[in-house]
Structure formats: C-alpha cells, structure tokens
Amino acid sequence: MFGAAGKSSAYPLGINPAILLVAVFLLGYPLFASDFFTFQIGAYSLILGTIALSLTMLAGYGGMVSLAQMTVAGFAAYVMAILGTNSVGVMGLGWPWWLTAAIAILGAALLSTFIGAISARTEGIYTIMITLAIAVAFFYFVRQNYVIFNGFTGFAGIEPPTLFGVYWRDPMPFYYLCLAVAAFFYFAVLYGSRSSFGLGLQAVRDNPRRVRALGINVFSHRVVAYFYAGAIAGTAGVLLVWFNGRVSPGLVGVDMVIDILVIAVIGGLGAPIGPFLGAVAFVLLENFAIDLIDRERFNTVIGLAFLLIVLFSPDGMLGLWRRAESRIRLPRANALWGARANRDDWHSASSPKRM
C-alpha cells in the first residue's frame, strides 16, 4: 500500500499485490461476513474512518489538529433531520433526500470553512483549544435549543432513500455505499496530497514563514483545507445519520469528539489509510471489549489498548506496520525511505525521523 508510488514498476500491472488483496477483501467482505459484521463493524468503521480522515487530512498534511470535525459531521446529520423527514414531529420539512444531502454536505463544508477562518491564524495547542471550544459550544447549543434542534431528544426516524429498488440501510447496500464514499475520499486525499494545493499545504505545515515569504497566502490555504475537510466530514455525517436513523446531542458530545481524535491518532496521522485502521480497531474494541473482561472494567481495556498503541508507536498503527515491514525487508525498505526523504510528499516530513 505504501510502496505503490515508489516501486510501481516492480509489480505486474503496476499494482502492489497487497493493495489488490485489500481491495478484494473489502469488496468481498459482505459475502462472508454476517449482517452484524457488515453493518455495525464494517459500515460503521468506514463512516468513523471517513470522519477521522478529514482530521488526518487537516492534522497530517496541514498541521492543524481540529477537534471540531465530529461537530461538522454532526451538523450535516442534523441538517438531514431538519430539512428531510423525521418521526419526532419537530421540523422535518420533508425536502427530497438528494437536495437535503447536498445542502447538508455543502453546509458542513461551509461550517468547517467558518471554523477554519476562526482558528487558522492559531497554531498548535491554541487550534485545539479553539476547535474544542466550538465543538462544546455546538453540543450545548443543540442540547438546549428546542425550536430547531429538539434539545436532548434530538431526532429519530431518519431514513435513507429507497433507490433502484434497494433500501439503502440494508446491511449490504449500505456497506457498499460507505465503502464507495470512503474509497472516493481516500483517493481524493491521496491525490490531493500530491497536487500543488496539497504540496502547498504541507509546506505551510512545515514552515509557514518561508511559504509566506514565497508569496503564498498561508491563511487562505489553511481555510481552503478546512473547506475540503468539511465536505469529507459532512458526507460521512450524512451516512452516520442514515446508519443510526437518529441524531441527538450525544452524537456531537465531547466523548465523540475525542473518539475521532483517538481514532486518527491510534491509526496514525501519516497517511490517509491511518484513520481507517484506527476506526476498525476502535469499533472492534468498542463492541467486543465487554466480552473479554468483567463488564464493569471493559472501558479500562479500551483505554489500555489505546495507551499501548500510542506508547509503543507514537505514529499509531501505521507506524507499527511500517516498522514491521522495514524489519522484514530491511534493505529494500531502507532504500525506499531514503528515496522518499528527498521527495516533497507526506513521507518526507515523518520518515527521516525514523531512520
């Protein structure tokens, strides 16, 4: 997966067999997995992974750790309930799903742009503080606003459309829908990171002063990144509300905000596959930790697992994988990292440290 760009000519068809295997596995997954594994593990991981992907994009490429990505996704989810149909009897304007979804995603992107405009002049911990404040403010706002957001109860009965004779919350179609969205954004982020915009963003991350000296507008570069990240999180938010069928303040609470950060960090911020690895680990633990241990202690297991990952691999599961890989194929991998260190892409910032 990570070797594709550098070593493409060595493989038949120019594709790393590991990528093919992953693709075949992901496509064939619902054929052998139960409905539960398809829907609650598979689809949910892809949704959370996509939200975390928007954070990875901002943090990994832009150096901006925004805790408001869940808020952006939650905003899209609320828009779906407010403009679309719900069973609660508050709002629910009954607009067609495609219009609602388009507005939800665009609205989420604009909200994210707005958050970016507020926070993009800050750095490091101050960005975290501002975006956390926005996330918490949004949580309290929706919890206390009854006219539009229906307070603590929120909305229920939000249905995905039935299109082409398919009910899109059935596990298999919904899984493929999530997979398509996740794959689209995965490749979009991968492609974007090598575009001039993406390279510019990484330059802004590494040395904003030098970039400014070159005549590039650092502020607007960052805000545009927030716009794209908002579109990603917003789309995932639409999927999330279809997944749950409901939206309430708990969805945008501090717990969930932190969960997204945890997913991104344990997965690894170095590459767009990281958040998906993190999401799978998170969802599996969330569902099955209770079976491993005394039910009063299972949250401790979840916490310990995350602690161990971060302790032994500061760059997440991605780092674990890379280290394992380089240990197995040391000479080749070393050559690869060496070659990459000179190239101006996402590896250059992180890989030399590991050498």
């Binding site: 139960s34 539960f36 609650q40 229920a156 749950n244 409901r246 569902n287 039910r295 949250n299």
Partner: protein
C-alpha cells in the same frame, strides 16, 4: 498462492466468528444496562437483578440452560441500539432484557419492530410511549412506567402535605417528562400549581446546580425533584450545602437506594421526602423481605446497595417473567419465539411487590408504593411505606382512547398554571 490461502483461512476464521453457533440445549439471554456514564451505578444494580432471577432457578428454565450475555450503553439511544444490535445480531440472543432508561426504551422498541423473532423484555426504562403509542408486538414491560410510579403522590402532596404550589426540577428527557406528568396530573387536578417559569429542565449528567438553586422561586411550598443516579446526588448535596430549606418531593429514582446508599452529604435534605415508586425498602411483607434477604446474601460487600434498588427490582421482575414463560413453553423457541410471546402476554405472577399482569399493549399492571425517607435502624436511609396503591394501570384506570386525550408527555404537559 500462499497469500491467497492465508486470505481464505482468514475469511473462514471471520466467518466462523461471525455466524453464531446455535446450541440446542442453551438459550441465550441478553442483558442490556447502562454500565457507563451517569447511570452506571443503577445499571450495575439492574444486572444484579437479572443475576438474582437466574440464581433462583439455577440458570435453568424450560429444561434448558440460560446463558446471560451482558451489553452496555451510556444511556444514549444510539449506544443502546448499537449494544442491542450486537446482542441480537452477533451474540444471537433470542430474549433480551433491557434497557434501563427512558429514551433508550423508545429506541429499542423501534428496533424491536425490525426483529419480529426476538423477544424484547424491558429492563427499567419507564417512558410512557414505549408501550402507550405505537407499541412493538414483541416488546414487553413487566416493570411499570414513570407515570404509574407516581400513583398517589400528587394526592398525598396536596391533601396531606397541603402543598399548593411546587417548583419542578427534572432531567430533560422522556422518563422525567413521564414522571412529572404522573405527579402533576392529580396534583393540578386537585388545584395545585406548577408554573412554567418554576420548572427547571437540566441535561443528564449535569454536575453544577448552583444556577438552578439560585433561581428557585421563594413562593413555592416544595420542590418536585425528578433526577436520577449521580445527578440526584449532585443536586441533593449541593442543595444541602447551599442551605436550601424547601421541602422536597422525590421522583421514583431521586431518593431510591442508588442515591440514599451513596456517600454524598444529603442526609438532612432528604429525610422526610415523600416519593412513590414500584418498590418500598421497608415494606412489611414476607415476599419483599425474602427478596431483600436474597439480595443481601448475594451482593452484600460485593458492591451491592444496602437494599435492592428499583433497578434490581425491575430487571429481576422482567428476567423472572422471561424465565417463567420459558418454563411454560418448555424452552421451545423453534417457532421464532411465537409461543413464548403468547405465554408472556398472558403471564400473571407473584413478585416481591405483589401481582403483576400485562394490559393489551403489554405494559404491566402492578402495585405502587407511596413512601417517605426515614433513618433506618442501622443509620441507613430507607424509604418507609406510607401506602400502597393497588394494581395501577398505565391509563390510570381510564379507557385507552380517553387517556390519549391527555396528550404526549412533555415539558409543558400538564400546563398547570
């Protein structure tokens, strides 16, 4: 080739995990409670209730072994659904007991409609609409609900305590709405007042009540408090600290054992507080005494409360109902539980708190206790029984259609100005 083989093996392994093995001689029973968040202590006591019911029959019912699989939520509907889905679709439970809190119950009822072959039996969730409007045919509630639990309290506050005007402090979701409705409906019908600007709705998990305490009006006779778990302890200790002197009227889980058994400084504030609910700690009845003795035997010194809470009681009754119905059908669930559900619907049985039977929407009709907090013999705070209201139905004895005219419970129902 090797990699393909490995992948196939992996697929097979996942498949093996993914398809629940159907054992012939065991029945899987799910237990869903809030083991995280503000209601964690009540949730644990709920699971204790299930364990008591299982212990009584040595985990055997209808000739089959009952395997309990627990699931946990954090009191939010979405987490309850995720945990339920895991229990039903992954662990393959055929009977589920739970959930604990009101909005979770509404969500699980909706989910139940999509799994007609699984039997859902309530834990202690007590929102009215779980069974009153659009009930699910496979959702049963042998524990009563929040408005039923208030039976007799409104009359008592007006007639005996002579309160005429009360402030209301409650959590902002479906269960407290139901409780407030159940208390205010008789209280206001008699002539009591609870003005809209003296009703305070706080979110679950609220920790700081200073602003609410400061805003409490002076011209009320009492405060009706419907908070639960950690929320109740926080309010009561802060109210005592602030030197609050208004008498309180308690919701069913505001002065129950999960609160009274806590270490918070609440003693002076809560003594003398009237309340009503499905249990009374000191009820002078051999059935209840045996239940308490059994609870103490199993859980004293192992994290249990001094006396079983209504969560232990509610989960116990619901699990007990499941076991009794399983006995009736000899553990036969081969028809997707159809016979079991028929047996449940007609079940009538003796509980530690009297007879329980179901109405046509599968909601319990049971006895409700009017209580008052007193200091027990060992210095523990307990609820003393003042009275029992026999066989309270969900519609307060009114015909169904007529009861619906009260409208859905909400922050403003009844208006009562």
């Amino acid at each position: 080739m090797l990699q393909i083989t490995r992948n196939t093996l992996l697929a097979a392994a996942v498949l093996a995990i993914a398809s629940p093995a159907a054992a012939q001689d065991t029945i899987k029973m799910g237990g869903l409670a809030t083991l995280e968040g503000a209601f964690a202590a009540p949730g644990q006591d709920g699971i204790r209730g299930i364990q008591m019911a299982l212990e009584e029959v040595n985990s055997m019912a209808g000739g089959k072994k009952i395997e309990l699989i627990t699931g946990s939520s954090d009191a939010s509907p979405a987490s309850a659904i995720r945990a339920t889905r895991k229990l039903v679709e992954q662990d393959g439970v055929q009977i589920m007991v739970g959930p604990l809190s009101g909005s979770e119950g509404l969500a699980v009822k909706d989910y139940a409609k999509t799994k007609p072959n699984v039997t859902f039996i309530n834990g202690t969730s007590a929102a009215q609409d779980t069974t009153l409007r659009n009930p699910a045919p496979n959702f049963f509630r042998f524990s009563t609900e929040g408005a039923q639990w208030m039976a007799g309290l409104g009359e008592y506050a007006y007639n005996v305590k002579k309160y005429r005007k009360v402030a209301v402090l409650a959590e902002d979701y479906s269960f407290p709405y139901t409780q407030v409705f159940g208390f205010l409906e008789p209280f206001c019908r008699l002539g009591g007042k609870a003005p809209a600007d003296a009703r305070f709705w706080v979110p679950i998990g609220n920790k700081d009540y200073s602003s609410v305490i400061a805003a409490l009006p002076d011209d009320v006779d009492a405060i009706y408090v419907a908070l639960g778990g950690a929320d109740a302890i926080n309010f009561l200790s802060q109210y005592q600290q602030a030197g609050g002197e208004l008498p309180l009227i308690g919701g069913s889980i505001t002065v129950d054992q999960t609160v009274l058994g806590s270490k918070g400084k609440i003693r002076e504030t809560v003594i003398g507080t009237p309340s009503a609910g499905p249990i009374s700690d000191t009820w002078d009845d051999p059935r209840w005494a045996a239940f308490v003795a059994q609870y103490k035997k199993m859980f004293a010194g192992k994290g249990g409360f001094p006396s079983p809470s209504l969560f232990a009681h509610g989960y116990y009754i619901n699990a007990k109902a499941a076991l009794l119905a399983l006995d009736k059908v000899n553990g036969d669930l081969s028809d997707g539980g159809k016979k079991l559900r028929a047996a449940l619907a007609s079940l009538k049985f003796e509980t530690p708190t009297g007879m329980v039977s179901l109405d046509e929407r599968r909601n319990a009709i049971a006895d409700i206790f009017l209580t008052e907090v007193v200091e027990g013999p060992g210095g523990n705070l307990v609820n003393k029984t003042i009275g029992v209201t026999n066989q309270v139905s969900q519609t307060f004895g009114l015909p169904y259609e007529q009861f619906l005219k009260y409208g859905q419970v909400s922050r403003t129902n009844p208006p009562c100005n």
